[in-house]
């Protein structure tokens, strides 16, 4: 199962659009994409999970590690989530109150500073 990434920019904030399934096999690629965005000097990033059909604890672990890194640098890692199953996983793990979760990339980038 493949995962695909595409980086665009909204209001000066990088948006990492992710598509496919994030599991123990593909999560390392998400980690690399986030590291690359951090190394490029971005303080805040948005990870758009609109086209992600599956996330497990490995994928969530990568997102939490990324969140810590960006917040320690004074920024943030925000999520765009619309899939009910992924919203449910964020809810049952308590992460829906840890991440800033939005319905669109536009809403996620509003007011953010890179």
């Amino acid at each position: 199962m493949e995962v695909r990434f595409d980086v665009t920019e909204h209001a000066g904030i990088p948006v990492l659009a992710t598509a496919g399934e994030i599991d123990v096999y593909t999560a390392p690629r998400l980690r690399e994409e986030l590291l690359e965005l951090a190394r490029a000097g971005n303080a805040t990033v948005v990870v758009d999970l609109t086209d992600v059909s599956f996330v497990d604890s490995t994928g969530l672990g990568v997102l939490v590690s990324g969140l810590k890194r960006f917040r320690e640098a004074g920024g943030d890692l925000r999520l765009v989530v619309t899939q009910p199953q992924i919203l449910k996983v964020l809810e049952i793990t308590g992460l829906s109150s840890v991440f800033s979760v939005h319905e669109t990339a536009l809403a996620a980038t509003a007011g953010a500073r890179s």
Binding site: M1, E21, D23, V24, Y25, T26, P28, F54, D56, S57, T58, L60, G61, V64, S65, Q85, V89, I92, T93, G94, L95
Partner: protein
Amino acid sequence: MTRHATGGGHSGGPAVADEIELTIPARAELLSLARMTVAAVAARADFDLEGIEDLRLAIDELCSRLVRPAGGDEAGDPGVLRLRFRWADGELEVTCRLHGAPPTPVDDQERYLSDRILEALVDAHGAEEAGVADGAGARCWLRKRRRAPEPA
């Protein structure tokens, strides 16, 4: 994949157990096969869409503990995963057994998230990390009951 069935038809009469086995190399890239199989089995056992999605995630969490992560530095044969799916009378049970050396345990953060997910999505689950008498390695299992239909 092998299929065993005991008893007769799917509806009516006493509870009938159906059973399917799936054997795959214990490699991360093949876990999608376990997810696809549990989805097909759960659909056959009349789970609703939410129950099927719950089982896809639960089986992934169960098996992820027994496979080596992609890009890891652990050398050697990853071993074989044997999954048994057994359903009867509205309940699905999945047993996952690793034949081979166990991988390095996942970190505490991921284990915490995985435990929360399993506790929320299935009715019961468990694991035996140590080897068992017949020479097989670690074993995990879960059980989930089909949600009762909404009253008319």
